[in-house]
Amino acid sequence: MAETRTQQAQQAQQAEQAQRTQQAERLGRLRELAGAVPDPELPFVSLAELGVLRDVREAGEGGVEVELTPTYTGCPAIESMATDVERVLREHGVPHVTVRTVLTPPWSTDDISAEGSRKLAEAGIAPPRATGTGPVTVGLGPTRTAGDGPEAHAGPAAETAGPEPEPVRCPLCGSAATTLLSRFSSTACKALRRCESCREPFDHFKEL
């Protein structure tokens, strides 16, 4: 009698374990599917490579809850990302999909994977450098005051900025001689620069 009970308990435990493994495998697959959804603005990088897919977890009755984090607070792409993720998971048999937007911890360009950075560069967008210093202050050209030029404006900010950050390289020719044209470009997450060697303008995914 006692032996049978033990066997039963063992069987139940094994069944439970198998179910858990199955669940974990399913979540892993769904996570891959959700992560492979392309970014609507930069379709050559996936949500996983961009680092905006935070979590995929069970939410009762075979349903799934997905957590996305926006790159920028006002990024309108987050809405189509949510729709795309929901559609893909439904197509793969998930009956209920809830997509939540989370802000904590805030997304950083450091969350972009190495592969994501490589694809950005390949598409002509200079990838972000490692963060830590915030925006790089750059003077804005000649001034009214005779003889002191733009460097007069380097001022206290430049003195306290610490070591020179590495230059933003031209994604087309690799030159380090590039100039900031505008801090804000085609989307909030990019700045507009120009290469002084090949003269091509290009976008730079700015550090956040």
Binding site: P70, Y72, T73, G74, C75, P76, L103, T104, P105, P106, W107, S108, G134, P135, T137, V138, G139, L140, G141, T143, R144, T145, H153, G155, P156, L181, S182, R183, F184, S185, S186, T187, A188, L192, K206, L208
Partner: protein, 234 residues
């Protein structure tokens, strides 16, 4: 909407972001150069994102943005001031983004603030560079930048009125802001006004729902579509 929502400090912050976003949006098609057209629209988008995140925590974002009357808005009067010329817009940006950067930097338990402060650093940097360029530029740009500083100075005092419910050291906010802003104005060869940071009876009461004259028409324009076609989508 309950009175609790109306009293929440987050509502005042959301209103600041929404109203300034709308003002910046009015530059679309009018900015002096294409790069600035894009820059101002991007900053407006960041601010709109802040407003939406904060409103969504408080209730229905459309209802809060489009169906409240002028007196229910708690934004500071600085953000509702008309765009004026490019110098007025950029000095308004300098005053506001310097303040918002310091404020969000202190609000370490508010997820939106922790997220948005990194974006606001870019807004402040943009405004700072333009203030330097305009103030220390041509005689004409200097004159206009000084006019902008003189015009907007009276709306800056309100920024340091404590918002009950926020864990912020307001004295530190004021001294930090004054140090930064006067430092930038000095470098831009602009004169820090010696006038008060509050105007007559009206200035300094936006947090209590008292607004300046240009606010009503702006709000009417902003809310008109939603009020005419409730629930419209495209």
């Amino acid at each position: 909407m309950t009175s609790t929502v109306a009293d929440r400090p987050e509502l005042a912050l959301a209103d600041d972001a929404l109203i300034l976003s709308h003002r910046l949006g009015q530059w679309a098609g009018h900015a002096p150069v294409l790069e600035e057209e894009v820059a101002l629209a991007n900053i407006a988008l960041d601010l709109l994102g802040q407003a939406r995140a904060l409103y969504s925590e408080l209730g229905d974002e459309d209802e809060l943005a489009y169906l409240r009357e002028e007196r229910a808005f708690r934004n500071c009067q600085l953000v509702e001031q008309p765009n004026g010329d490019f110098a007025v817009t950029l000095v308004r940006q300098l005053f506001f983004s310097s303040w918002q950067e310091l404020l969000y930097g202190q609000l370490t338990s508010m997820p939106l603030a922790v997220k948005a402060v990194k974006e606001v650093v870019y807004h402040r940097d943009h405004a700072e560079q333009w203030t330097l360029r305009l103030g220390d530029g041509t005689d004409e740009s200097h004159r206009r930048a000084q006019h902008a500083v003189d015009t907007l100075w009276r709306y800056t005092g309100e920024l340091f009125q404590p918002l009950p419910g926020l864990d912020v050291c307001w004295d530190a906010m004021r001294s930090g802001w004054e140090k930064r802003v006067t430092g930038i104005l000095d470098r831009a060869t602009l004169t820090v006004p010696d006038g008060p940071q509050h105007g007559g009876w009206a200035a300094g009461a936006g947090r209590q729902g008292l607004h300046t004259e240009p606010f009503g028409p702006m709000l009417a324009e902003m809310q008109h579509l939603h009020r005419s076609h409730p629930g419209a989508a495209w």
